[in-house]
Chain length 162, copies 10
């Protein structure tokens, strides 16, 4: 195993094999290589020039890889490019990797925010933008870490076209 | 009706009466006063010194009002303070105002983000913070509006203690 | 009752009172007036300069009325404008008037089309437009009637921004 | 891989292997050949003289292939005709390829249209055609692309016998 | 109460008030009059010249009354014709009077037949009629009673256009 | 493949392999032999002296085969009798071959009839037979085809002991 | 309140008003009178000459009252006979008083027995009676109390026609 | 196959292979041996000195085998004792062999009894035993057959500690 | 309002009126009196000589009040004893005050513990006690508060008969 | 098999293979070694210096193993450390090993406690701690056995950060 890993010192994220039947063929290919080379999403994201969350979504089959992404992924993960190209050529069949409501506590917390604040977001968004919708497609998102005297804070930003 | 309203020029948000049976007694009281006085959450939030989303959540019975909030609300909404105090005295019974999955398209988009990106967020958060969880309670959130040549963008920020 | 009605000779559509608890306050107001004046959605749509389906959606609380719509509705339905303005001032809380899967056979047929052709639409849309989504918001729809030797055909057109 | 592909320049649609257990034996046969020969549904539809959506539905096991379709498919996909004949000989067991509500965002948008406009369609159809139903079986559908200054528009037409 | 009743000697069917919230306004009107006059569906069906099951369906808001039906119903039930006309003027919003799976044992037995024999019916229908569907709309149904040495038999016939 | 087939000229019904995991071991055995010998349920039913629907139900594991049925099936399908005897020896574990509500449009139509007419059947049956139930077990059913100037009609008869 | 009550010394069973909306009109009438007169089901059952469980089922609208039952009930409960006759004249709409799975712990235990022993009962019943079914309609049931050194035992007997 | 079988003359119960994935490893082992030796649960129960239903439950993984049971089972089924000991050593993970509501008609009838009589049992049990619960664990159950002029009756007895 | 309240300085718990339709008649009576007299469960529990959680459960209709509890409650809450006796006389119809999974975040955390640790508890309990069950009826529970340098800790103890 | 086992004399807990598809790869590895070496969770917990429930949760993939845990587990279970390290390197994907509501009676009892006492816990916790939440993450739990004249009692303690 290489000396890489995450910059935070925490171990890298790997794939729980029990969800593989819900994922496209590319997911185990990508996660296995990630594990073998001990690469964080941060490192891979830099190599691809994309946001970490987008890259993780791509690994879970939730985002489409551009031909350039395929090339870069093959390189950093030391995978056969034509295999990767073949496995990543389809259009993502999104949303099926997870049952809702989510059972995973960390993901459930995000779900709970929508459950509790859903109408509050709608009311404030309507007052700011009028009737309409925030796109979940023409959309970007990122995760950041802030530290203060109270400890560590996770900051998630969602930015969507109205 | 007063000359107030929202700074965006869009009408203020009001309460759909068909969800009243799922809400605490305080919700129709608050929303009716808000409508009568034509006040936006932005205006009310300034008067309370709190975030707009938190105030909207309070109106939907999802957040607890401090004694000071009660006082300020009574004042800006011209409501009887003791009535408000009585209706807002309980601990919020959160999460029941909405069926999940949300049917409202705007709220569904937020839900869909969790459904599609749930595991991606978890993977990136784990690599940054280790095993653990982002609190949905010791938590703040805000909505901002950005405008560029492509149009308007809604930016939602979630900030939770790890 | 007036001498109006539908141009097809079929009776006008009215509101089943048993779904009223799921609708905003404006729905019974609008439908009652429509029934009293025996007006079809075709007639009302012409008076508003909008598509019939959009007007029916507005009656069911699924679409937002512009100030001009309110004025026109009050006029053609002979309703008090300020009452209508008050009832229609909110942002629609969409999607709650119906349980899914729909039990109504006519609506179920539309649902069944999505169930059976969903992936086929996706495949063809992806090949024509690439990865992305057809907006259900920046969207218009209409219903037309065609007649040929085999009988009557309903033609529904959905037109959404990619 | 051949020089064919789609006329739009977008990659062709392929099959996500994780839904194979819900599909008849013919689906992986057909999709694999389509991928190997890099053919769009547009090209295959022309060779069969059928609508693109109908052909995609046939690939997903949602439509029945006529003996002529089998012959044409075998030819354009360079597949053994008797294998194809055997795999396509049954009557389609429709509707099982997808969980409802759909999790795929693109398909969800179509579902959401039914959820929000269901009663509006019913009301307008009833006023135009009287009590009755639009057939989802004696039915055709197509997808078209329109382009104007605002961008690309997807136009879906449903035409069903009343 | 009149001397009528059923020809079988069994009491007439009445309405369980606990399902009224799921029914249109016409249902309690019709059932109350039926109970007051102690009329069976057989008697009412004869007066209307329709099948018993169709009349019962009309009482439950599942079938549309023609203007002639309204006239005949008003007469035999001694109801105000204009009230009946108003309550029966809408298009039926079918299917909502019952939760599925049915909890009522008698109705459950019919549901169980579909559950157990569904694919068997499909296979036999396909072999007799080819691919297609039996209409549940252009459709008639009746209930008959046969008696033999083993006891009484209920015979239900469904006849639908292919 | 033999020259047999259906008397209607339509192809025979075969088994969609994707439902095999829900069926007993006998189902693929029986359906494969049926396909290889190109036999309709009509032909097999004659050889067994039973109703077509009952035979189709037996193929789907929903009905019990008598020792005589086993003998006759082995003969007409040219299957090893002891294999068949072993696979058909258990008591049917009925009802699991299908999810409810049915997604198959043809089967859904039958389900919809129960959903819409359930209470109507109950009311008429109660008036004819008193309180009680129609057996779904001591029960027979058949499918017939009628043709008139309007086209083909499917007639399904259910006959159950009260 | 009278000096009656139960022979066991335990208080009588009364009706939780929160389930009234799921019950026929007769249920609150009967339970209120039972409470006012402080009568146990044992006492009422004796007066009617029926099993206690059957009488309790009648109170919950799950069993049909014969004309004689109505007479006896009116007498022992001191209720107006014609009111009772009117409220009890319909055919029971069974099964709707309870959500399944039951949340009530005592009822859940019975449900759990079916969940855990369902297949075991089926296997033993099939070996004793062959293929078939135990009627839940031509059926009687009783509850008895046994006491031994280990304490009290509830003994429930179900007796159904095969 | 031996000359044993059931004393009733009906065939023995065997295992539907399609539910194997929900059962522990011991179930197919036990059922296969039972089938090969053609033994009824009655015969096996006698050899073990336990109730038939308890033995059937043990075969379905719903009851725990004592070391003595293992010895007796190995002997009567001619199975390797150490294999059986290993497969039966765990604590039963009860309740997962069946979906609820049960689709099997015979098991559904038992479920329906709970659904219809649940509150009636509770009321009678409460009046006899006071507030409390009947154990579904410290519990025994048996199935008996009674025959009278009306035919065969299945009698199921549940006996649980209060 | 009296000078009582909680010993912790936090406000007392009151009843969210939107769940009243799921509760017995006693719940609003009790909670209203508690609010009017500003009493904590701690204070009431002391007056009754019972655990706080048991008293709160009694208020929510989940536990049975003894005649002595009724007397004490009437006294401390200054309620009419005969009214209270009448409202509390029934046997609790437990479990219906809450939908599962719980939407309330605080209650969800408890639910999540069961979801995540369920099998772990079972494994450890089985190793300590053998096969069997922990009673949720012959059962007591309490909540305690511990404070250390890391802050406040809630300690919940469940004690059930094996 | 070694002479170890549990100190209670009850057999050790093993893994029901039918839930393996829901578990991470580490679970069958760990449970198989535990069974082969006949070790109780008590013994393993001592070797790891952790609570029994936490260790059982780790075996079911619900808790994260520290590098030290991995080392200790490899030693006591005589497993290859690098295999274990690889299988345990991911972040737990919690909550998916069990369907909710739990069907297992022992686990259901815990679930039922939450269902029945949920609001009672919330009310008491709110009065003791104010508005907020008990962490299910910064959380520890243990199981103890108490014995008195009434028999054995299971005592479960949950301790969570407020």
């Amino acid at each position: 195993m290489s000396a890489s890993g995450t910059s935070s010192g925490h171990p890298i994220a790997t794939l729980d094999t029990s969800i593989v039947p819900r994922l496209p063929a590319s997911s185990p290919t990508l996660f296995e290589a990630k594990k073998n080379k001990n690469l964080s999403f941060e490192t891979i994201a830099k190599a691809l020039g994309r946001e970490e969350v987008a890259v993780a979504a791509l690994f879970y089959g939730q985002a489409r890889a551009s031909p350039e992404d395929v090339k870069n992924l093959a390189k950093i993960l030391e995978l056969d490019e034509s295999l990767l190209e073949s496995q990543l050529s389809g259009y993502p069949d999104r949303g099926r990797q997870m049952e809702m409501p989510p059972k995973e506590p960390l993901v459930y917390r995000l779900y709970e925010i929508i459950q509790n604040y859903g109408y509050a977001y709608k009311a404030v968004l309507n007052e700011k933008f009028g009737d309409g919708i925030m796109s979940a497609i023409s959309f970007s998102t990122k995760v950041e870490k802030e530290t203060d005297e109270k400890g560590e804070w996770a900051v998630i930003t969602l930015r969507g076209k109205w």
